[in-house]
């Protein structure tokens, strides 16, 4: 076994004698907290995996970050406070969805504008090709699908 492959490399950075507490033991009162944690973790991008949220990522860091969210919520911080904490540490990059304000609005508005413009084109096309030229059906064969 080489040094780099030591299985210990993947345990959380705690002394060997401490076993992490089981994270699955939930009381009903915790379920609101869990839902909030899950929702927040789904908004934040995992720093070590590119593209996955902290909620989805199987990495150790994401696991620890979920714990941070949970602890901060439990200590009475609001979800906005927790989000701001991560923003302060990691910058806007950490948000999986850009804040819809200022320049970022572009990414939300451009697709909508494209859809509306396209709808206008379709509308014009249908009107243009249905109205006047209806006198030509002789060229077209009978409809085989009917």
């Amino acid at each position: 076994m080489s040094v780099a492959l030591s299985p210990g490399a993947q345990t959380p950075a705690v002394p060997d004698t401490v076993t992490p507490a089981p994270r699955s033991v939930l009381t009903p009162a915790d379920s609101v907290l869990e839902a909030q944690t899950t929702a927040l973790a789904s908004e934040l991008r995992c720093p070590v995996c590119q593209g996955l949220s902290i909620q989805d990522s199987p990495s150790e860091l994401a696991l620890d970050m979920r714990d941070v969210i949970r602890e901060q919520l439990r200590s009475g911080k609001s979800p906005d406070d927790v989000r701001q904490y991560f923003l302060d540490k990691y910058g806007e990059w950490i948000l999986l969805e850009p804040k819809p304000e200022g320049f970022n609005l572009l990414v939300y508005l451009l697709p909508v504008a494209a859809l509306l413009a396209g709808a206008a084109v379709v509308w014009r096309t249908v009107r243009r090709f249905t109205a006047p030229v209806a006198a030509e059906p002789a060229v077209l064969p009978p409809n085989p699908d009917a």
Binding site: Q10, P15, Y90
Partner: protein, 189 residues
């Protein structure tokens, strides 16, 4: 021929190509940290590797950032499983030794690893001149907005983050940053 249409097309395509060209000059992994300029998050962490010489500490002692006001502090996050950390170890150890008398403190922070693996690694690499600390459940790493290891933070005498380096750091960069930080009078900017 409908060159107007072609013109529309070209005007739409050119910005995209320019954008992609711009993208080629950027590194998607080099994410600007919001921390520089702000107060460095304080920590109180246990020492697991003592270091040697002037800045040596006792295993089990608690190291606090707030105790080093007036010193320039260098924090290096590392792990025994990290391949790139091997490349910077020599530079860090020797620069730390060289600047120990000049009001510069180095700390290693073990990221996502066990102290025994960390100690074995230090021995394997021929020792580490400054103390290394344990960061249980990576709380301090998250406080510092860590993306991975290795990452190195430079902290001013008045406790603000001055600079963050991603990836293996070189001796030249260390010396350059430290000299410029030491040239700043304490408290001023």
């Amino acid at each position: 021929m409908n060159w107007r249409r072609a013109l529309y097309g070209v005007t739409a395509a050119v910005p995209v190509i320019v954008l992609l060209g711009y993208g080629l000059t950027r590194d998607p992994r080099a994410i600007v940290s919001p921390l520089p300029g702000k107060a460095a998050p304080d920590f109180a962490l246990g020492v697991f590797a003592p270091g040697v010489g002037r800045t040596a500490m006792t295993v089990g002692d608690t190291a606090r950032l707030s105790a080093h006001r007036g010193d320039v502090v260098v924090l290096n996050f590392w792990a025994s499983w990290c391949l790139e950390c091997r490349h910077e170890h020599e530079a860090l150890s020797s620069v730390a030794r060289a600047y120990a008398d000049r009001g510069v403190r180095f700390y290693g922070l073990l990221y996502n690893d066990t102290p025994s693996a960390g100690l074995a690694w230090i021995e394997d690499m021929g020792g580490q001149s400054y103390p290394s600390l344990l960061d249980p459940r990576t709380r301090t790493a998250i406080d510092y907005g860590l993306y991975g290891v290795p990452e190195t933070f430079f902290i001013t005498r008045d406790g603000r983050v001055a600079y963050k380096h991603i990836g293996a750091i070189t001796e030249r960069l260390l010396v350059q940053k430290l000299d410029s930080l030491l040239a700043d009078p304490p408290g001023g900017s």
